[in-house]
Amino acid sequence: MRLQYPSDIKIILVPCTGKVDLIHILHSFEKGADGVYAVGCLEGDCHYNSGNLRARKRVEQAQKILDTIGIGGERAQMYNLSSSEGPRFAQIAVEMDEKIRKLGPNPIKLAKKRAA
């Protein structure tokens, strides 16, 4: 299909979103990511039964922590789609890109620059 999606999104492949841990999300922000989102299979369709449900819970945990420490929980998101929904994948990427652009850069990145 060769669908276009924003080029500033770095895709990290995992066998299942269940593999995404809270620490991975936090470390991404610590290293300067402006937003992180996990894209899992549709709920109920996880090949490993509940990987995507776990991922959602971890994203929610990350949101809570990010809110607490002043980074903003909305920078972390969870999406679900099926493997046949290429256009939806691109649409989510655009959506997320717009959302994060509205929020502006990760304050950590700016703080690091100030500190340097």
């Binding site: 841990d21 620490i23 610590e30 420490i69 002043g70």
Partner: protein, 222 residues
Amino acid sequence: MIVADKKPIEEIIEEIKDHEKILILGCNECVTVCEAGGKKEVGVLASALRMYFLNEGKEVKIDEVTLERQCDHEYLEEIRDSMDQYDAVVSIACGVGVQFMAEKYHDTPIYPGVNTCFMGVTEKRGLWTERCQACGECILATTGGICPITRCAKRVLNGPCGGSVRGSCEINKEIDCAWQLIVDRLKSLNRLDDYETLCPLKDWSTDRAGGPRKVVREDLQQ
């Protein structure tokens, strides 16, 4: 195992806000199993704190170490050489670990990063429940292996009280009535007659009432 629960990050921030070189110290034992104070939780807490202080414009060094245990000298000694790098430690071991650390490292403040809750079991992932209050004089032989001191809200030794309803405790439907469990268990052991044996007044001197407790084993001491 000893079950603990994470303290809110806000509370930990409040504890350590005046320090600049902080060690987050985990424990590989009980608190790892109950996912409150193991290596993984050390990583999460440290990462969150680093981001918080950075965002606040404060230069704070936050390191991560997880020891095998925090309730034995030998493991706590492992960090002796690096302790001078820190002006505070957040221990996310149970309260035992926090205190043993404080005893060992006199001039470094040690802050608790978890709330130590009870001795209990993992019923399933994410659900831990209490089983023992360490009263120091076990009565489980007479109660079918179910502890009324721990599991009855009034620790009634000759129960149940009048508030036992359909297997639940009067204080909360979600809590099993310990004495319903005991009666059911005695029944299935064919020992219901034992129910009528009066439990005498308990000697609480082996419990908290007797002050800090110790177990002395001369045969093991060197």
